[in-house]
Symmetry: C2
DNA sequence: ACGCCTACCTGACACGTGCCAGTAGATGAC
DNA sequence: GTCATCTACTGGCACGTGTCAGGTAGGCGT
């Protein structure tokens, strides 16, 4: 009952060799010559005692852990974030490391977290405060911020414009969010939308931002839609920051008795799980979140000095045509 | 440059005291008397060197870490899982520990993960394989399985029945899932549904299970609905395993040209983010995921010998009335 | 018999921390 | 003056691992 877990010393004793030999065998070192008989005895003993090396001790001795910390401070759950985390977990594991997801609550929690666990690298999905960045700096933990992908993050919005124009629309509106934690995604998308409109010489596009959270008010969106449609040159299509915004937009259109897409086209972004189920089903942009995860990991490995600097990332994304445009 | 991070030895040297004194001061031990002057000198030195204790070393010395591992293998829980993880993170942090979320990919990954990080407790949202459980046993890591909440997990489905009956329905159907990883939730809900029907002496309820994933076929659900409606005593209301199933159900009803709720009532479960946005807006059950997190943590603390055995958990949940019933 | 080489293995240190046991000096009681 | 008590501190061990320099035994050539 509850005998303490076995250590390499136990194995050594049982196999009748020294601890050093055990370490050499279990770590498969090729520069040390171990006789096959001894090797087998050690492995056998390890199996019998179901030995698992102590993680803390290893990390202490090695001077660094094999843990990667993903700092996710309230990025709203969606199909994409799940895909992203799964893929990142996979590629990190492929290099003999382990990815841990930490849901940051307050801005001051990082210190106590790092007192419990020392990652060899941190990946942040949101911008960290300067004190947090300083802390990582002090601990000499490299940091990769998803910021770095900015080069391609306006692409999805450009695709929205392109698709709407191909469908015959010219007077467009963009519905975005003013939620702080989403600005990292929202800002480049809005610029991409505006830039694409300008490049195609479209009439001046309309813009509106909804407050954050799930408290998006249907009434407010309905009013916004009504305003856009009552202008002299009424909007004929609305591109949205994400599928959730688009779904609210569809609901608002229904409130106003509008037919989508004939009276108004609505386009989402994310291809979220519910996108095929709205009425009409949402035409949207699918972003390859897994490719994004792989790119972020390439950046991380470069930072760890294990790989070349990756090519600039062009967010792979494509239009998913359904019925709302 | 890039001087190695400072250790307690550095602090001791700088403050002109021994390392033991530093340890006593920084750990705020009250059973050791330290003069205020010395204490201040130590704290000052620690601040100047921005000292952060080494996590690995601490864990090694203490014999156990302050990490709690949440094993989440792809639970597609949507909004609720976010609430759950946030609340669990909060309550775990309140006891001076840190919660890490690990997204298990394959059934064999646990060993390599535990080689990198040794939690003082594991919480599993899905059933673990027996080899995984054995591994935790060997490492003497206590395990809390969300299984344990079974007592209350049939409640949400009972609430669905109750609400449908209050709305005047008697001939009910239940749409559930056959996806393996969801059976933990699906099984008690289905039994709850059937039990509630039996207790209220309703006509024999219908049952159907959809295959898992997001590949739920609208056509298949449409066919099922048609079958239920063509029977001699046609179904008048469908309760669903979750909101996603309910949304598919709404779409299928639209395909058949049915009006919801007059021709058919549809009830979801989860109050997912998109529930207010379906047409008609989904009447559903809201489960208090945060309360669930707190209860799980109470169980965990009991297992750690830090608290009393918590009361049996009655899943706090209530009906969110919208338009689909 | 001697030195040398190789194959195989071991003793001992270091990583950074927490804490027990012990010590030097001051204070007080008789 | 002596002994006990208290304050304020320190020396050193232990946690479990990886690794390096060294050690031993046997074989081989001369």
């Amino acid at each position: 009952m509850a005998k303490p877990r076995s250590t390499s010393t136990d194995i050594a004793r049982r196999a009748g060799v020294s601890r050093a030999t055990v370490s050499y065998v279990l770590n498969g070192r090729t520069d040390q010559s171990i006789s096959p008989a001894t090797r087998e005895r050690v492995l056998q003993a390890a199996r019998e005692l179901s030995y698992v090396p102590n993680a803390a001790s290893r990390a202490l001795r090695a001077g660094e852990s094999r843990l990667v910390l993903l700092i996710n401070s309230g990025v709203p759950w969606s199909t994409n974030i799940t895909d992203f985390e799964d893929e990142l977990t996979r590629v990190v594991a492929a290099t003999g490391r382990t990815l841990m997801v930490w849901r940051r609550q307050g801005p001051d929690d990082l210190a106590s977290t790092l007192a419990h666990l020392e990652p060899c690298l941190a990946i942040a999905l949101n911008r960290l405060s300067s004190s947090e960045a300083a802390l990582l700096e002090t601990l000499q933990i490299p940091l990769v911020e998803s910021d770095l992908v900015a080069p391609g993050s306006d692409l999805p919005a450009r695709l929205q414009v392109q698709h709407l124009v191909e469908a015959g629309h010219e007077r467009l509106a963009y519905l975005t969010t003013s939620e702080e934690s989403l600005q990292r995604f929202a800002t480049p998308r809005t610029s991409g939308f505006l830039a694409a409109c300008a490049e195609l010489a479209l009439p001046k596009p309309r813009l509106a931002a909804l407050p954050g959270g799930m408290d998006i008010s249907l009434a407010a969106v309905t009013e916004q839609l009504r305003a856009w449609l009552e202008e002299p040159d009424p909007v004929t299509a609305v591109a949205c920051f994400n599928d959730f915004h688009a779904a609210v937009c569809l609901a608002a259109a229904a409130e106003l008795g509008l037919w989508v897409p004939s009276d108004l086209a609505v386009m989402g972004l994310d291809d979220d799980i519910f996108a095929p189920l709205t009425r009409p089903a949402l035409t949207t942009i699918r972003i390859d979140a897994k490719a994004f995860a792989r790119h972020l990991w390439d950046l991380a490995r470069h930072q760890l000095g294990e790989g070349p600097e990756p090519e600039p990332f062009l967010q792979p994304s494509h239009v998913v045509v359904r019925a709302s445009v």
